[in-house]
């Protein structure tokens, strides 16, 4: 962090993203919340409209508050390979990977995306702060790292027409970018980085730029997309999309291991349904390896489930049971009515061995009707994947609309 902090910084508790003024222009409801020190919109106009921009046209979400780190040096690959459970030798320059990372106990600290921007340089983008983790991992490695959260402005540009709009903006060959590709493009003020990635389970891109390029970029997007009903969106709309896409969130679906105080309250990648990122046989040591090997042999405590919930009442904070009025076997961590899948869905955790695909489990749902609390039992089916996973998410080149 190179930014000098003003001695008067305390006069405002919140920070303002470089997109703040632009967002403010679209704000009709004045609903904001804090995210990593920044004030960000919860809703700008209407959550449903904002959500449908993600699925129908194109949406803009301010990603600036994400924790961003740059890691570089001769041993950057070795460093990343020890930090992350994925096999980082497989991540080529110009590619992005979703990953989680663990502590020695094999418990997930956070998840995020890692960008290989050069042979010996990576960017790491995470929900929570990672300096302490990067610091302890750096002992004995010939690398350097810095936090660049405040130096990089970022936009998540998601939706079926996002590629078309970027093409309109003159980003040449952007349609040839595959899922998880990253490329640099010319833009006034210097190159910007664009990755085909997102948190919506849909076609989309993330744009990374200098703070001073934020407003010009915003204007350029609106300019190029004026025919497509682009919408800036708040956190609520994104939340629906990510649950629909079956993606987990730190501090919602799991408690970051390094911030977890109570013994046994953290979760392993296996327990978060992230088996596929753990490469136990990659031949080098990575954090959590020994514990995860053991867990693989001895079995996990919980299973992550994506549930199709009967009825239309969302299973927020519901307990899960093996049968109606049966034994409590788990709980729901995220739940929403999925507007595109047209399903009542939930993400949650059940004790092993419950929760295999197709299993029926029960949720006890509490909900209010005109201030009066009701309770109902809802039959839930364990789904074999996310409720929303359209082919256009990965199709290359993407269709225009």
């Amino acid at each position: 962090m190179t930014t000098e902090i003003d001695r008067d910084h305390w006069r405002s508790a919140v920070k303002f993203s470089p997109f703040y003024n632009k967002l403010k222009d679209h704000d009709m409801v004045n609903m904001w919340h804090r995210w990593a020190g920044y004030t960000v919109p919860t809703v700008l106009e209407n959550t449903t409209f904002e959500y449908f921009a993600i699925r129908n046209t194109a949406s803009l979400f301010d990603l600036t508050p994400m924790s961003k780190y740059r890691i570089w040096g001769p041993e950057a690959l070795d460093y990343m390979n020890r930090l992350l459970p994925r096999d980082m030798t497989k991540l080529r320059v110009g590619r992005v990977a979703y990953t989680a990372w663990c502590d020695d106990e094999g418990m997930v600290i956070d998840d995020g995306t890692v960008f290989r921007v050069a042979e010996d340089e990576y960017l790491l983008c995470a929900q929570e702060r990672q300096m302490e983790i990067l610091k302890r991992n750096a002992i004995g490695f010939d690398i350097e790292f810095e936090e660049i959260s405040d130096e990089i402005a970022a936009l998540s540009f998601q939706g079926p027409v996002s590629c078309k709009i970027l093409k309109n903006m003159g980003f040449k060959d952007i349609e040839t970018m595959k899922m998880f590709d990253l490329r640099y493009f010319d833009f006034p003020g210097g190159e910007v980085m664009i990755s085909r990635s997102g948190y919506t389970g849909d076609l989309g891109y993330e744009l990374w730029m200098k703070n001073e390029q934020a407003e010009p970029m915003w204007d350029a997007i609106f300019d190029a997309g004026k025919d497509y009903n682009i919408r800036p969106i708040g956190g609520n709309a994104l939340e629906i999309a990510r649950i629909e896409a079956g993606l987990i969130a730190a501090n919602v679906d799991f408690s970051p291991a390094n911030e977890t105080v109570r013994p046994g309250h953290a979760k392993s990648p296996f327990e978060l349904g992230l088996d596929w990122i753990v490469k136990l046989d990659k031949g080098v040591v990575f954090n959590g390896r020994r514990a995860l090997l053991k867990e693989k042999q001895q079995g996990s405590r919980f299973r992550f489930v994506r549930l199709d919930v009967e009825g239309n009442k969302t299973a927020c904070n519901a307990y899960l049971f093996d049968k109606e009025n049966g034994k409590n076997i788990g709980y729901v961590s995220s739940a929403v009515w999925a507007p595109s899948a047209k399903k009542n869905i939930a993400l949650g955790f059940v004790d092993m061995p419950h929760g295999k695909v197709g299993d029926i489990i029960w949720a006890e749902i509490y909900y209010k009707k005109e201030l009066k609390w009701n309770r109902r039992w809802a039959k839930c089916t364990v789904m074999d994947g996310p409720a929303w996973n359209p082919p256009r998410k990965t199709k290359t080149p993407p269709d225009d609309f």
């Binding site: 962090m1 902090i5 003003d6 001695r7 008067d8 910084h9 305390w10 508790a13 919140v14 920070k15 804090r34 020190g37 020695d104 106990e105 702060r129 990672q130 300096m131 302490e132 610091k135 936090e147 390094n258 911030e259 105080v261 109570r262 013994p263 046994g264």
Partner: protein
């Protein structure tokens, strides 16, 4: 146990006499009275409160002249004794800062994001470390807190209750697992200096965090065992906010006043100006107390809220106490290391480093900005003198609590670490007391140009003065040092950690017993629970009720 019998006062026999109307004595007495016992509280001073006292020593100023903030006070006790009804209000305060020698400051902000930026302002690399630090502290607070309102087990005992309690502890440790146990042991044994070194690089941040860890101890920031004392200052909470500190509205005397109110509501009787000369014992059983004026008062049970040394070496016949207890009491460590200045001010002192409209001044501020200076001030104390560059914890309660000083005027409480019991082996003289006071005032004046001109009255309290006035041996603010050898079942000493004294019917309820000092009231409550168990009365003394 029926209502108190009226009749000839001289013949009257109480169920229980509690000696010393400090907050623990009052808590103890209140719980006993609430259980229906006929309880008499005797206090040597003309006022109650012990070290939780507000005194009107200068015009319209109210001084919390011993303890001055409130955080550790157990919420369960507040609730069960209905202290709100008796006028106790604990108000959180915010702010606080450390002043640096180069004219800057490190602020304590309650807003997490602002706090992070403030850390970043001084040392970017330490920002996330700050969160890690708090996660670790939260871990140990959570571990320790449920133990506060429990009686420690006797590790040598085979009694079912002790074995159960040992099993409870073993289970808690078991839950920690190998690595957390290591961290815990480490935390319990290392110095606060080493502890903060694990997290921070900035000396200022280290000193800011480590400050409270040596408060009231006879240790330096690099002495092993001081990290735990840090926890002792963190594990409190106000309205569920762990680590938050507050003022008792009206000064710390309000705590005592409310406890006394609860006690009297349940029929308790308080006699001030009644110092106890001796706990009377006959045939190995307590019979009552003899006051300094010769009066004898009878009771089946006597509870001493005095420190272990004063109790066993002062108001008990050594023959009654027994050789072992006398020896153990002599070994009890209760050395004072803190002084205090209470100052009446004509206005708010200006601090050159602080922005004019900053609210930080409502919190406590410190003036040591590096660990070495801190440790060196400890070396001075070891060599028998007060620190020339002392650690100060300065608070102006009247900025938060309007009852403490006349409008526009202020009360300033200055806690000073280190200050010896005796100066180079000699008793304090008025001249030395003045010099000590001047050291402190000049230290503050270095950072505040108008400070001296605002002073209207100063009360200087050395450990000796604290001992003389409220009876804390050596002036030790915790009624016994908080070292590994004097915690849990070792407090005050092995075999006597369960609040029972060496003779039948004799009990202890002061901070010399588990869980130790601070205005926590847990020792008093725990002792009441044990007494009620002995009397086979169903007890209403709460255990920890936080679901955590």
């Amino acid at each position: 146990m029926g209502p108190p019998t009226k009749g000839n006062e001289a013949m009257k026999k109480y169920d229980v006499i509690v000696i010393g109307a400090g907050h623990n004595g009052l808590t103890n007495a209140a719980f006993l009275a609430k259980a229906g016992l006929d309880v008499l509280m005797v206090e040597k001073n003309d006022y109650i409160g012990g070290a939780s006292v507000s005194r009107n020593l200068h015009k319209d100023w109210m001084y919390s002249n011993c303890s001055y903030v409130c955080s550790l006070f157990r919420p369960e006790i507040y609730r069960y004794l209905n202290l709100g009804k008796h006028g106790l209000q604990v108000v959180t305060y915010n702010g606080g800062f450390s002043l640096t020698d180069c004219g800057d400051y490190l602020g304590s902000y309650s807003d997490h994001d602002v706090m992070r930026r403030e850390i970043q302002r001084h040392s970017p690399i330490d920002v996330d470390a700050y969160d890690r630090y708090y996660t670790e502290m939260a871990k140990w607070c959570r571990f320790i807190r449920p133990l506060l309102l429990r009686t420690p087990p006797d590790p040598t005992s085979f009694k079912i209750r002790d074995l159960d309690e040992l099993r409870f502890l073993a289970k808690k440790f078991g839950e920690l697992g190998h690595k957390d146990l290591h961290d815990f042991m480490r935390f319990f044994t290392i110095s606060v200096g080493d502890f903060v070194d694990q997290f921070f690089t900035s000396d200022l941040i280290k000193a800011h965090k480590a400050g409270s860890a040596v408060v009231g101890t006879n240790l330096g920031p690099y002495s092993p065992g001081t990290a735990y004392v840090l926890l002792h200052h963190y594990m409190g909470d106000v309205d569920g906010a762990t680590g938050a500190w507050g003022f008792a509205r009206g000064g710390m005397g309000a705590v005592a006043k409310a406890l006394a109110g609860a006690f009297q509501e349940h029929g308790g009787e308080i006699r001030t100006g009644s110092g106890v000369e001796q706990i009377t014992v006959k045939n190995g059983k307590v019979t009552g107390v003899r006051l300094e004026n010769g009066e004898e008062i009878k009771a089946d049970r006597v509870v001493s809220n005095l420190d272990a040394k004063r109790t066993f070496l002062g108001i008990m016949d050594p023959k009654d106490a027994g050789e072992k207890v006398v020896k153990a009491a002599k070994k009890f460590k209760i050395r004072g290391s803190s002084g205090k200045l209470n100052i009446a001010l004509n206005g708010i002192p200006e601090l050159s480093a602080l922005p004019k409209d900053s609210k930080l001044i409502q919190g406590d501020f410190h003036v040591v900005d590096n660990m070495e200076a801190y440790e060196r001030s400890y070396d001075e104390w070891k060599s028998g003198t007060w620190s020339k560059n002392p650690y100060l914890d300065v608070l102006i309660p009247s900025l938060t609590d309007p009852t403490m000083a006349p409008p526009g005027k202020h009360f300033m409480s200055v806690f000073v670490q280190y200050c010896p019991e005796k100066v180079n082996g000699q008793d304090w003289t008025p001249e030395l007391v003045k010099q000590f006071g001047d050291t402190v005032i000049n230290t503050i004046a270095k950072y505040s140009p108008n400070f001296k001109s605002l002073i209207e009255h100063v009360e200087v309290r050395t450990p000796g003065k604290i001992e003389e006035e409220i009876g804390l041996t050596g002036g030790n603010i915790f009624q016994g040092e908080l070292s590994l050898s004097q915690l849990m079942f070792n407090r005050p000493f092995p075999g006597y950690s369960q609040y029972r004294g060496p003779v039948n019917g004799m009990y202890m309820c002061g901070s010399s017993t588990h869980p130790g000092g601070g205005v926590m009231a847990a020792p008093g409550a725990n002792a009441a629970r044990e007494i009620l168990i002995d009397m086979k009365i169903s007890t209403t003394v709460p255990e920890d009720e936080g679901d955590d």
